[in-house]
Amino acid sequence: MQTVFQKPEALTDVQMHYCPGCTHGIIHRLVAEAIDSLGIREQAIGVASVGCSVFAYDYFNCDMQQAAHGRAPAVATGIKRVRPDNIVFTYQGDGDLASIGMAEIVHAAARSENITVIFVNNAIYGMTSGQMAPTTLLGQKTATSPRGRTAEEMGYPIKMCELLATLEGPAYLTRVSTHDSRHVLQAGRAIKKAFEMQQQKKGFALVEVLSTCSVNWGMTPVDALKWVEQNMVPYYPLGVYKDVTAKEGN
């Protein structure tokens, strides 16, 4: 018997605080697996955000920094420019990246900063107990939209990949999901590619990962995955929105 699956080295032994079935754990593991497979654990510097993933610095077994709410791309910019040989990534949720951090992410993308951004979109503010996020779907009930989000009152959910794809700067933009094992494996490949783009100095790379928040959505973890497939994927279509290496024919 040979071991074919085990905890990646780039994760610490600390038990994660996430709720049962939270896909943050899966996405943490995918990032760690990408770091392991590229052999960049000694070079990697992660920037944790504010939100449920605030404790990411305890879980990744590489150098980590904590940024103020939404400011992870700005902090990562500073780290990368001072230490260009390190591999710098941010790990941000939708409340962090698409709301208070909208300015930072758009300008980091426009400058094509050579960083890797992992953007976890679960359509809600998880840490603060389920308020409406910029990415909350129309009709979705949250603590602050108890009758469901309406476009008239609260506007439309923001599609970050599509929005950033209008800029010249980004090198790689893709949206993946975690709602079944096939898509998790696909997400892992996209995250690895986003790190490779940075190694090749291609510029800004962002992977948007559709994720769950079963507790605040009010359903079981298994049902939450089905909800992602049935409700989020139709509004947030999966796919590659920009890839400069595709143009070069690599």
């Binding site: 071991t3 996430y18 754990g25």
Partner: protein
């Protein structure tokens, strides 16, 4: 002899059942014993059916599972 083996670190399990839903062979089920966090940890109820496909571990958010697989026999 089963083709695969699933090793469960019960203390890390949070009873989310994503691995149970992911297993195509129904090897796993939520068990009766409670871990120190108060969750019923997952158990391998039919280990003889395990093929070592790793799909349960791929879906586990807490890296509870380690998977071993029998190397293909060379003829």
């Amino acid at each position: 002899m089963p083709r695969g083996e699933v090793i469960i670190n019960s203390e890390l399990c949070k009873e989310c059942s994503l691995c149970v839903a992911a297993c195509p062979q129904d090897v796993l089920a939520i068990g009766k014993t409670i871990n120190s966090k108060g969750y019923h940890a997952v158990e391998a109820v039919a280990p003889e059916r395990c093929t070592g496909c790793t799909l349960c571990a791929v879906m586990c958010p807490d890296v509870v599972l380690t998977i071993k697989r029998r190397s293909p026999e060379r003829k």
